[in-house]
Amino acid sequence: MEYLLQQSMNALSLGGEYALLALGLAIVFSVMGLVNFAHGDMITFGGYAMFLVAAGMGIANPALLLPVGVLSVVLFAMFLEKVAFKPVRGAPPTTGMLTAFGVSILIQNVALIFVGTRAKSVPTMDFLISNVTIGSVRIPVVQILETAVTVIAIALLVVFLRRTTIGMAMRAAARDVSTVRLMGVRADRVIATAFAISGFLAGLATVFVLARRGAVDPFMGFTPVLKAFVAAVIGGFGSLPGAVIGGLVLGVAEVMMQVVLPESMAGFRDAFIFTAVGVLLLVRPQGILGERPDFGEKS
């Protein structure tokens, strides 16, 4: 029972992290058709921002450090949109994808050259890696926080998308950008908002990724975002509820594999999971909630 509870918490928090990242990918994809391969490097950026503030300026107070992490990723996402993605907006989708790859390589190399290949520890996260004991169950604080933050972030996002004009415009733009412009809503604003939200969600994830690893390195964003891609594909790429469901499914699947697989086969965890994803996509190529592309008529 305790074991089950611990593992469920494990699955929820991991799934939550994937969901946050997959949502960020899906929001940007839905409004501008861009597959943002630099999403992981936004996490890296946030990690270094926190490292620089902690080590460089000696600020160790988490109440200051955590907002720095989140905010830096939001600003960085908006900055990337302005300088890298806006100029190629009218171009074919492959151009956007290659631009994202370019941005990713650039960020990784800037980190390599100016900070170095060695992982730098961010020492201030102790309270996150402590445990709480509920009855006889010990649960890491980071898992509780991560699950709670994911739930709150998703709830806020739902309210934002349903209640605000710009949120409605974002949902509408996922299908039909030109008609949204006919409403007098600036496409620029919709896209900038999408990046800001994507950055905000990635910023939250940054804090948790960092809490687990305790250190930053130039490639720290790669694995989480690779998993987020898989999550988004499972859920149906571009679908926001799909991204959340895909994230949770992937998190649960990974933890289940860890529990079920004998130790000698633990290294094959991802192989089993990717095989399952492959089978899923054979049955439902559009993912769980994705829609089949329709090649309809003019109207």
């Binding site: 509408a172 008609t179 949204v180 006919l182 409403m183 109207s299």
Partner: protein
């Protein structure tokens, strides 16, 4: 109040619209007719800035608006009800109307206008909180026009509002347009079928193969059997 001069639109080497000029006076209903593929939608899209113009000038209310983008034009009081209605399928009727008023900051006025269209089209009230994709074609067209009007445009361009609708519904839509004129909205109605729209339009243009073939009063067009037959497949009266 609206004037397009020598507007051209090209898609790569294909010139879809060639040096087309068109004026619409305050309070007028003008119709732009022409067969499928004549360039009508391209012209409208170019006017409202959704596709680039390769030449020509646009003026609206004594202001040169040639270089303005779609959003700026909508803020100045021009808008288009697009071909095929293009309601936001996943959004509710309420949200569609709300987005139509995206340029406005007066919640009371928005609520008042919403009420006005719900009064006008009671079906929209019954479907107020369901997704627009569940509406019939005619209902979607009513929603699309109401959504355009939520921005309180002075000049409304409607791209084939009768397309794919049953005759009874078309009558209802056209009656609404006639009523709209009394609200002080100037209109350019794009149609493939000349028949009914000529009964209430003041003036008419005929576009074919990307070039303007006729311009005159609706009465003139009805009388000129040749133009009607050649471009619109109708017998003149």
């Amino acid at each position: 109040m609206f004037k397009a001069e020598n507007v051209s639109v090209s898609y790569g080497p294909i010139r879809a619209v060639r040096d087309v000029s068109l004026t619409v006076g305050e309070g007028e209903i003008v119709t732009l007719l022409g067969p499928n593929g004549a360039g009508k939608s391209s012209l409208i899209s170019a006017i409202i800035g959704l596709v680039p113009k390769t030449g020509g000038r646009i003026a609206f209310r004594d202001e040169d608006v040639t270089v303005l983008g779609t959003e700026a034009l909508v803020c100045r009081g021009m808008t288009v009800t697009p071909e095929g209605r293009r309601v936001f399928a996943e959004l509710t009727v309420a949200e569609n109307l709300r987005l139509g008023a995206a340029t406005r900051g007066d919640p009371d006025g928005i609520a008042e206008d919403t009420e006005k269209f719900l009064e006008m089209f009671p079906i929209l009230r019954r479907r107020f909180h369901s997704a627009a994709k569940y509406l019939s074609g005619g209902e979607q067209q009513m929603l699309a026009i109401s959504r355009s009007l939520m921005s309180r445009p002075r000049f409304l361009m409607l791209d084939e509002p009768s397309l794919g609708l049953a005759p009874r519904i078309v009558d209802q839509i056209f009656e609404f347009l006639i009523q709209l004129r009394t609200w002080g909205v100037t209109m350019l109605v794009v149609e493939q079928n000349a028949g009914e729209v000529l009964e209430f339009a003041d003036r008419a243009y005929v576009l074919a193969s990307g070039a303007m073939q006729f311009s005159g009063t609706a009465e003139d067009l009805r009388q000129s059997g040749g133009v009607m037959e050649m471009y619109l497949g109708l017998e003149g009266h």
